[in-house]
């Protein structure tokens, strides 16, 4: 496959690995990625074995499903209890625990909860069910936001009066700042998410290198991409010159996707967001602009956008620490004993991009 096979070349991977080993002997690095696809690739391809022990690779809050707050899930479940409503969501969301239940359990009990691959499918469902209220659970990072933005614009253009968007988007740069400030984490470099960056570009990360002196590198998802990204971060560290580099320039431009950014800014505006495991972070979420308030589930159903519960009640569950990169899944007493992909206990085990789920399958 073009753009895939050539970036999985074993000889070249070994060559970058040797170079990293030769440079890393005197440098200790804590590199964090904040993208579920990076988590998956790193463990699926066994990249940890190609790095020296002095480089610690940490998974941060990179799975949008895992960071959805329990209050959001509770509100979605409450909406699902009304037989006049149809809830639509991306698949992984169904198993995310609220404070008492999941959307999947609500569906088993008879609620109308459907799974979509694309937000646009919500438009068809609304047309096909004119007497029902269709509520789309709009979660995701910047990669997903413009796809929902176009769906909002389409719904408005078509004059649909029975579709509503319940927004709980999360934005990566404010989360990076939260993590950069956390002294416990002591991060020396961020391997930045390729497809979030395809939308927003590389400039929104500049403050991380400048203000917090932490090196940044946008990287793709194939083994050579990630290894080269780590190599670039190591070089920045050695030269003591933190900056934002772009390893994934075949898909990421410095200004990002201008059309997508215009869609985002015309439909949404920044707001506070509640991250499971991290708590509230200012300006790290998006809500619908006033022009689209008729399509806003928060206005239509009159509840708070999200409550502030951290949502992890069982103190044995270490998802909060895993999401922040302070602990690894194997540090959790529940991991592989009570908590598994078939019977997930914490949010990080649910999605295929969740850190615990990835560790369960590959480590």
């Amino acid at each position: 496959m073009k753009y895939v096979d050539e970036f999985r070349n074993k000889n070249l991977a070994n060559k970058i690995s040797q170079k990293i080993h030769s440079l890393a002997h005197s440098e200790s690095l804590r590199i964090m990625e904040v993208c579920g696809s990076h988590t998956q690739s790193f463990h699926r391809f066994g990249l940890g074995k190609l790095l020296p022990p002095s480089i610690k690779f940490i998974s941060g809050p990179g799975c949008p499903v895992c960071v959805s707050s329990p209050g959001y899930i509770d509100a979605a479940i409450a909406l699902a209890q009304d037989k006049n409503n149809i809830i639509l969501s991306f698949g992984d969301m169904l198993r995310v625990p609220g404070s008492k239940s999941t959307l999947e359990m609500a569906r088993v009990a008879g609620a109308q909860v459907g799974v979509v691959y694309s937000a646009l499918e919500a438009i068809s469902v609304a047309f096909q069910n004119p007497k029902k209220k269709v509520i789309f659970l709009a979660v995701g990072f910047e990669t997903t936001v413009p796809t929902v933005g176009l769906t909002v614009l389409d719904a408005k253009r078509k004059g649909l009066r029975n579709i509503f968007f319940y927004c709980a988007f999360k934005l990566i740069p404010p989360a990076l700042e939260y993590l950069a400030k956390d002294c416990d984490l002591n991060i020396s470099g961020f391997l930045l998410p390729g497809h979030v960056s395809a939308i927003i570009g590389t400039k929104p990360y500049a403050f991380i290198a400048k203000r917090y002196k932490i090196g940044c590198c946008v990287a793709g998802f194939e083994p050579l991409d990630m290894l080269e990204g780590i190599y670039f971060l190591l070089q920045q560290r050695i030269k003591k010159r933190p900056k934002v580099e772009n390893q994934y320039n075949r898909a990421v431009r410095s200004l990002g996707n201008l059309k997508a950014k215009k869609i985002i800014s015309s439909v949404f505006e920044p707001t506070v967001a509640n991250w499971r495991g991290l708590g509230s972070i200012a300006q790290s979420g998006l809500r619908l602009r006033k022009e689209f308030s008729r399509l806003d589930a928060v206005r239509e159903f009159g509840f708070k956008a999200e409550n502030k519960s951290s949502g992890i009640k069982d103190t044995r569950c270490r998802c909060r620490e895993v999401i922040r990169g302070i602990e690894e899944p194997r540090d959790c007493l529940l991991f592989k004993k009570i908590c598994s992909p078939e019977h997930p206990y914490g949010p990080c085990m649910i999605s295929s991009e969740g850190t615990c789920n990835v560790y369960y399958r590959y480590c």
């Binding site: 496959m1 073009k2 753009y3 895939v4 050539e6 970036f7 070249l12 060559k15 970058i16 170079k19 993208c35 579920g36 696809s37 990179g62 949008p64 499903v65 991306f90 698949g91 992984d92 691959y117 694309s118 937000a119 646009l120 499918e121 995701g140 990072f141 990669t143 997903t144 413009p146 796809t147 176009l150 998410p193 390729g194 497809h195 979030v196 395809a198 939308i199 998802f221 050579l224 991409d225 080269e228 190599y231 390893q247 320039n249 075949r250 898909a251 990421v252 996707n257 059309k259 997508a260 869609i263 999605s351 991009e353």
Partner: protein
């Protein structure tokens, strides 16, 4: 849900295109991209093409990797 796979544009019909990667075929929305043509590779996410892949940049990346000494 952030998985983005490079897929080849096989057919364009208005705001949508048929894309393919191996045996996987999908219909995707291409409104977010400008000047898309048949044979281009795009990153697909949640039913939308979010960016076109730049073959020249891909070659440059591989060249840099080859040149690491």
């Amino acid at each position: 849900m952030c998985l983005g796979i490079p897929m080849k544009i096989e057919k364009i019909q208005g705001e949508f295109a048929q894309v393919q990667s191996g045996s996987l075929k999908r219909q995707v929305n291409i409104q977010m991209l400008s000047s898309i043509k048949l044979g281009d590779y795009v990153i697909v996410h949640a039913g939308f093409a979010i960016e076109k892949l730049n073959s020249q940049k891909a070659k440059e990346t591989l060249k840099i990797i080859h040149e690491i000494r």
